[in-house]
């Protein structure tokens, strides 16, 4: 069995927003951060990261600047816009509600539904 699980639909955007919320960051760093933080449980398909970034930027949730990295290379750094922050809050809240609800359902004892 593959110990890594695929991301549920739509959560990639939420995760990206959260990572970017911590401070301006470039695409490669986002990918790494996601893998590290999730202790390699969450498999981020790198191929879908950039389309997602571009989509979020296009929707005005992210903005970008070209800046130098610590190693002196020029990279595209993404940061959260005001609109992005609001979106992150609502999505995070709804995610929490959803997981709580799912957890409650899973905790039901067998036959306890009667």
């Amino acid at each position: 069995m593959n110990p890594k699980s695929d991301l549920p639909q739509g959560t990639l955007d939420l995760l990206i927003l959260k990572v970017v919320a911590l401070g301006p960051v470039h695409g490669y760093a986002i990918a790494q951060r996601l893998e590290q933080v999730s202790k390699h449980v969450v498999q981020v398909p790198q191929g879908s990261l950039y389309p997602a970034l571009h989509r979020l930027e296009n929707r005005g949730l992210l903005a970008s600047d070209w800046k130098d990295t610590e190693t002196g290379r020029e990279a595209k750094f993404y940061r959260l816009t005001g609109k992005g922050r609001a979106q992150l809050e609502t999505e995070a809240a709804s995610w929490e509600r959803l997981t709580e609800a799912v957890a409650l359902i899973l905790k039901l004892s067998e036959g306890g539904a009667e």
């Binding site: 470039h26 695409g27 490669y28 990918a31 398909p45 790198q46 191929g47 879908s48 950039y50 389309p51 997602a52 571009h54 989509r55 296009n58 070209w66 290379r73 020029e74 990279a75 595209k76």
Partner: protein, 884 residues
């Protein structure tokens, strides 16, 4: 960034995307190298992790949201390339479309200018026309009426939601300065220009204190008249002119193109200064009223208030207003029967456009079939169906739009000739211009037609059986397209038949109408309105003498055979209708028959050569001292007396206004087609009564003299008589003028001008339709036959004769022609109904009309299919079999 900014920065964004990906890959591989991998292996792993870079870039581009535009641009360029590769196809398609759209655009330009454009006043939607409406039995006959002057004055006094202005159309003779001339006069209330919100070009509007009897005479000049009679000099302002022996001071000049109720008056004078007695009579309704809804009020409020005033007037003036109401309706351009003519022509031209579309569609379809392999290849490479359909549509829309642009350019040259060809004056001709509405229309038409002719070929884009299509190669016999192709041919034939049969119907109608007997001998007759010297009009005795003098002078001229005065003559607008009965015991109003009244002098019968059936016509003994006499036509004789002899019988004409309204019938004459050749047979009122000028009471003389014409029978060409007649009739004061001069031949011909014009245009459209349909049939058969060349080769190799090959091809087209003719006949029957309703004098469709028109189309279609058939019969079997 907007989508267009992103579009403009497309190249930069591509660069950045490339850079971003490269950065990612380098970072990743650097890290892997640091972890101990060889550089080559690190790069490989990094690339694996990221996935196919091109595919990912595609997804990023999709995310950018300019995708559709980029695709569109790509499709557009592709379409242009495809069209350039086949210049012959492109030229034929473009020409066909340009023809279709230009004809449609020209017709729409007219429809737009005449029917759709709002009136050229500010806030035209707040203007209303006020009508008096009779709730009496004759409401239907007389319809909406104008308004009594006193009622109008009461309206202005009582109403708060509307501001009113009135106009009375009249005529007058200007005798100074310049040549005497009879002019169109519009007597208006002060405030006409401010109600319409039209500023005067020079000077001022009438003042309220000038709108009274006895006030100083003032006038405003119409722009055209000012240009014509005063050479457009600005010192005409504050100068004076003499109109009907009164000296007027010119206080203003109206702006160019100013028209009210479709008429451009020569001179405006204050209505309140007119002393005519009929203006003080609430039973007479001569005034046209226009009003603007005041700010803050709605049409509904204005109508309600007006109805209230109408009711108030009905109660206050029971004798005159009891059965009348006042209504306000949005002011609309007055265009008469031009409306139906225009829609009819737009419909006809639309059919031509449809044929053009069918033509191009079948051309495109043929190409789509030959491109099937290419399209199948694209599907195999991953193109979606939507993408392919879009690409095919892009091509047809590019075609449609280019055709449309060409069409608009062509239309630009077509509009003026059509307007000048229009029979009579096209109302609002000055408003007929290419404007944004027309451009929008042309754009819509070309895009829609692009979609229309592009959709069938596009939907054929192969999706199933890709593999089979790819394998079949060029040898595939496109069975599916045959049905579509036949459908195009059939619809072209159907549409062409509708137009051909309509043209045939119009042609027959015109022939029939032209051969009708107008009831008068129209050759060598000149008719002209005659304005007596204004000085004579005040005194009835003088006026009678003046008319005698006019007749005597005209009769003396060389080339003149006989002369008569007449108030209304045939084939002209204008008539006087009176109810009559054969006894004093009158039935209720709605049962009374009506007749057309004509006032003439004794020689009228000679001038018009109207046959005398019984009794006599008028003579010098029929004067005021004798019994009032009339002469009736055979229609009235038949209606009122049947087989009895009407001579010596009497008619009661209750509303005549004579001291005694009983008249003795002294003669019966032939019927005259008063309403014109086209209109008379269906006219509501056909019976005719003639009554002599010499028995007209004094109180009638002034008004009748204003309407009188003279009719002259000549032995020389009548047009040659105009100049001598003018100078002979000038009178002692030199201010007696002829106007509205026509020959009866012109009038008879004008009474058919609408039918003739429709026939001309329908003929042109039918011709176009025929040519387009034939090229369409030719194209389709040439293509279908071309597809069958290998088959024909086999047949011939097996011994088929050329004739049987020709028959093989012709049979195919005969099938299509047969179905087309059947459908076309049904459609033409429906179209014939429409024509019958909209065009005067149209007879129901006849079998012979079909018999005359359909063979034309069938023969032309057979000829068009014969060419490819013959070519097929000459196929060399060896070459045919080796094809592919």
């Amino acid at each position: 960034m907007n989508w267009w900014q992103r579009m403009l920065r497309r190249n930069k964004m591509e660069e950045q995307l490339e850079k971003e990906i490269r950065f990612h890959l380098e970072q990743h591989s650097n890290e892997l190298i640091a972890g101990g991998l060889s550089p080559a292996e690190a790069r490989r792993r990094a690339r694996m992790a990221l996935g196919g870079p091109e595919q990912m870039k595609e997804e990023c581009r999709d995310a950018r949201g300019t995708r559709w535009l980029e695709d569109f641009w790509q499709d557009f360029r592709y379409a242009m390339r495809m069209l350039r590769q086949r210049p012959g196809f492109a030229a034929v398609a473009l020409l066909t479309l340009a023809l279709g759209t230009s004809a449609t655009t020209v017709m729409f330009t007219l429809v737009n200018g005449v029917l759709l454009k709002p009136l050229p006043f500010p806030e035209p939607d707040r203007l209303v026309a006020i009508h008096g409406q009779s709730v009496e039995w004759n409401a239907e006959l007389f319809g909406e009426q104008n308004v009594a002057y006193l009622d109008f004055l009461d309206c202005t006094r009582f109403n708060h939601s509307l501001s009113f202005a009135a106009a009375l159309f009249n005529g007058a003779t200007i005798s100074q300065p310049g040549e005497p001339e009879y002019i169109d006069l519009s007597e208006t209330s002060p405030g006409l220009f401010s109600v319409l919100r039209v500023p005067l070009l020079l000077g001022r509007d009438f003042l309220p204190e000038e709108d009274k009897q006895g006030a100083a005479p003032v006038a405003i000049l119409g722009f055209s008249f000012w240009r014509r009679h005063f050479a457009g000099r600005s010192d005409a302002l504050n100068s004076t002119m003499v109109l009907d022996v009164k000296r007027y001071t010119i206080v203003g000049i109206a702006p160019q193109g100013f028209r009210l109720f479709g008429q451009e008056a020569d001179v405006y004078t204050p209505l309140g200064q007119d002393t005519a007695r009929f203006l003080q009579n609430r039973e007479m309704h001569p005034v046209r009223v226009v009003a603007r809804i005041q700010a803050g009020n709605t049409l509904g409020e204005a109508q309600a208030e007006l109805a209230l005033i109408g009711r108030h007037l009905a109660e206050t003036y029971k004798d005159t207003n009891a059965r009348r109401t006042l209504v306000a309706e949005p002011l609309r351009p007055e265009v008469g029967d031009v409306r139906s003519t225009l829609w009819l022509l737009l419909g006809a031209v639309g059919l031509v456009l449809l044929i053009a579309c069918a033509n191009v569609a079948s051309l495109l379809l043929a190409r789509a079939v030959s491109r099937e392999r290419e399209l199948a290849m694209r599907v195999a490479l991953g193109a979606t169906r939507g993408r392919l359909v879009r690409q095919c549509l892009a091509e047809s829309i590019v075609l449609g739009l280019s055709g449309g642009i060409l069409g608009v350019l062509l239309a630009n040259f077509g509009v003026r000739p059509l307007v000048s060809l229009w029979p009579g004056d096209l109302p609002r001709a000055e408003d007929v211009q290419l404007d944004w509405r027309v451009l929008l229309f042309a754009l819509t038409v070309s895009v829609l037609s692009g979609l229309l002719f592009g959709i069938a070929p596009a939907l054929r884009a192969p999706f199933k059986d890709v593999e089979r299509t790819l394998r079949a190669g060029a040898r595939s016999i496109a069975g599916g397209s045959k049905r579509l192709h036949s459908a195009f041919v059939i619809s072209e034939i159907t549409l062409a038949i509708v137009l051909l049969v309509s043209a045939g119907m119009l042609g027959r109608t015109l022939l029939r109408l032209a051969s009708l007997d107008p009831g008068v001998d129209i050759h060598n007759v000149l008719v002209a309105r005659t304005a007596l010297s204004p000085a004579t009009l005040a005194d009835p005795a003088k006026t009678r003498a003046a008319w005698k003098d006019v007749l005597a002078r005209a009769r003396r001229l060389p080339g003149v055979l006989s002369v008569a005065t007449v108030d209304t003559f045939p084939m002209r607008e204008g008539d006087n209708e009176q109810a009559y009965w054969t006894s004093a015991d009158l039935p209720p109003g709605d049962k009374l028959p009506f007749a057309l009244m004509t006032n003439t002098s004794p020689d009228y019968l000679d001038v018009m050569r109207i046959p005398l059936r019984r009794g006599r016509f008028f003579d010098e003994h029929d004067d005021l001292g004798n019994t009032p006499v009339i002469v009736i036509d055979e229609v009235l004789a038949q209606n009122a007396f049947g087989k009895e002899d009407p001579i010596g019988k009497r008619l009661w004409i209750p509303d005549m206004g004579y001291a005694s309204n009983v008249f003795e019938i002294v003669g019966v004459v032939g019927h005259v087609r008063h309403w014109g050749l086209a209109g008379d047979d269906q006219a509501k009122i056909r019976a005719q009564i003639y009554y002599p000028f010499s028995q007209l009471p004094d109180s009638f003389i002034h008004r009748w003299s204003e309407l009188m014409s003279i009719a002259v029978r000549t032995e020389i060409p009548p047009l040659n008589l105009i100049a001598p007649l003018r100078s002979e009739l000038k009178g002692a004061a030199g201010d007696q003028v002829l106007y509205n001069v026509h020959t009866m031949e012109q009038l008879a011909s004008d009474s058919l001008s609408r039918q003739r014009f429709l026939l001309l245009l329908f003929g042109v459209f039918a011709g176009l339709a025929l040519v387009l349909a034939c090229t369409g049939i030719y194209g389709v058969l040439a293509y279908l036959t071309g597809q069958r060349v290998p088959e024909i080769g086999i047949r011939m190799a097996l011994g088929a004769k050329p004739n049987s090959v020709i028959w093989l091809v012709l049979r195919q087209s005969l099938g299509m022609i047969f179905v087309g003719v059947a459908l076309g006949t049904a459609a033409a029957l429906a179209a014939g109904r429409v024509l019958q309703q909209l065009v005067q004098g149209m007879q129901p469709i006849e079998i012979s009309t079909f018999a005359m028109t359909i063979p034309v189309l069938v023969l032309a279609a057979l000829f068009a299919s014969f060419v490819p058939a013959r070519r097929a019969s000459r196929v060399d079997p060896v070459i045919a079999l080796r094809q592919d």
